[in-house]
């Protein structure tokens, strides 16, 4: 029979292995966003933010796509309302993620739930769902370790962009934004598992090109709604399993 110290020791080694597993699982996804973090940092400097303002965006907002969209709009001196509406549209997918985590975290303390929410990203959601599928149990420790690892990498790459942007002219014209396209392609394409999702992605993707010409500030929000609606109303949904 195990005595108390054994139990403590074994749960401690177990904790360490959960944490290191989380770090190993999320690291490839975190590294894939490094060029994007660099772009966010250097662009923020270029449009006139101070180094501290640029870093605070990554420290507090912690949402690459929303940060980049807002920096672009600020740089073009676009409407402040379009910054907020873009941020909301881009972040609204996190509503779904938190709805999925809801049943698993409701019993946790307020502080744990606050932390899980703060560190919730596409990448953290993806690896945590894989963990749940594999172990049939949600682990707050796993989710937080993955989320914090991603946070550290994201902020270090933003910092690198802030520093590099001051010494390397035209860093933002080197095509770093292609890293965003590549990351999203790599995340989205494998999730297209039925016709409704395909229709949703295709409608949103092509309508955004059209709207970019006529209503550039609101292209993202309008196209996203069109895509979601098209997926939901898909007339062929009887052939889907989902």
């Amino acid at each position: 029979m195990l005595n108390e110290t054994d139990v403590v020791a074994s749960s401690r080694t177990n904790d360490v292995s959960v944490m290191s597993g989380a770090v190993i699982d999320i690291m490839p996804l975190a590294l894939a966003t490094v060029p994007w973090g660099i772009l966010c940092g250097s662009l923020a400097i270029k449009i006139g933010l101070t180094a501290i303002q640029a870093q605070l965006m990554s420290l507090l907002v912690f949402a690459g796509a929303a940060q980049l969209a807002s920096i672009t709009i600020m740089g073009a001196t676009g409407a402040i309302s379009s910054i907020f509406s873009s941020t909301f549209v881009i972040s609204s997918r996190h509503l779904l993620y938190s709805a999925v985590f809801r049943e698993h975290v409701r019993q946790l303390s307020f502080l744990s739930r606050i932390c899980i929410a703060f560190f919730l990203t596409d990448e953290m959601f993806a690896v945590t769902c894989a963990y749940i599928e594999k172990h049939r149990v949600f682990s707050a420790l796993y989710a937080l370790s993955a989320g914090i690892t991603f946070y550290v990498v994201w902020n270090l790459s933003t910092f690198a962009g802030i520093v590099a942007g001051q010494y390397i002219p035209n860093l933002e014209s080197m095509g770093l934004e292609f890293a965003i396209a590549a990351t999203f392609i790599a995340i989205v394409i494998p999730t297209i598992k039925d016709v409704s999702i395909l229709i949703s992605a295709v409608v949103s993707g092509f309508s955004v090109l059209l709207f970019s010409i006529y209503i550039p500030d609101y292209a993202l929000i309008v196209a996203t709604f069109c895509g979601m609606l098209a997926g939901y109303l898909n007339p062929m949904k009887e052939y889907d399993n989902g």
């Binding site: 490839p28 996804l29 449009i47 933010l49 303002q53 965006m57 907002v61 949402a63 796509a65 929303a66 940060q67 807002s70 600020m74 402040i80 941020t87 909301f88 549209v89 881009i90 972040s91 997918r93 996190h94 509503l95 779904l96 709805a99 739930r113 606050i114 899980i116 929410a117 703060f118 919730l120 095509g175 890293a179 965003i180 396209a181 590549a182 999203f184 392609i185 790599a186 995340i187 394409i189 494998p190 999730t191 999702i197 949703s200 992605a201 295709v202 949103s204 955004v208 090109l209 970019s212 292209a219 993202l220 196209a223 996203t224 709604f225 895509g227 979601m228 609606l229 997926g231 939901y232």
Partner: protein, 106 residues
């Protein structure tokens, strides 16, 4: 940017609220299946709406013609790769490499 601190504060609130809303206990209602189904299209729709303009309109920032755009060819190559490979980092790395190569040769 005059309103930077306002923008930062509001953006922080928006992103955090979206992440926290359904983790809060004060929200006691359950999402009905229809809303859940609409929400399930958020990620594919918004992510696609973000990468398509980079791939198909990326050339407009410089003087490159559409059919000479490295964004176009590297983007299509990355789509093909992601259909074949599961490893996200490998797809991103090879896609970026393709972009660098297309930039040099086109």
């Amino acid at each position: 940017m005059d309103n930077f601190w306002l923008v930062l504060a509001v953006m922080t609130c928006i992103t955090f609220s979206c992440r926290y809303l359904f983790l809060s206990r004060t929200i006691s209602f359950e999402l009905n299946p229809r809303i859940k189904r609409v929400l399930s299209f958020t990620a594919p729709a918004v992510l696609t709406a973000m990468w398509m303009p980079i791939v198909f309109l990326g050339h407009t920032a410089s003087d490159v013609a559409f059919f000479n755009s490295p964004f176009l060819y590297a983007g299509l190559f990355t789509v093909l790769l992601s259909l074949k490979m599961k490893n996200t980092l490998a797809v991103v790395f090879l896609g970026m490499s393709a972009f660098v190569i297309f930039r040099i040769i086109l």
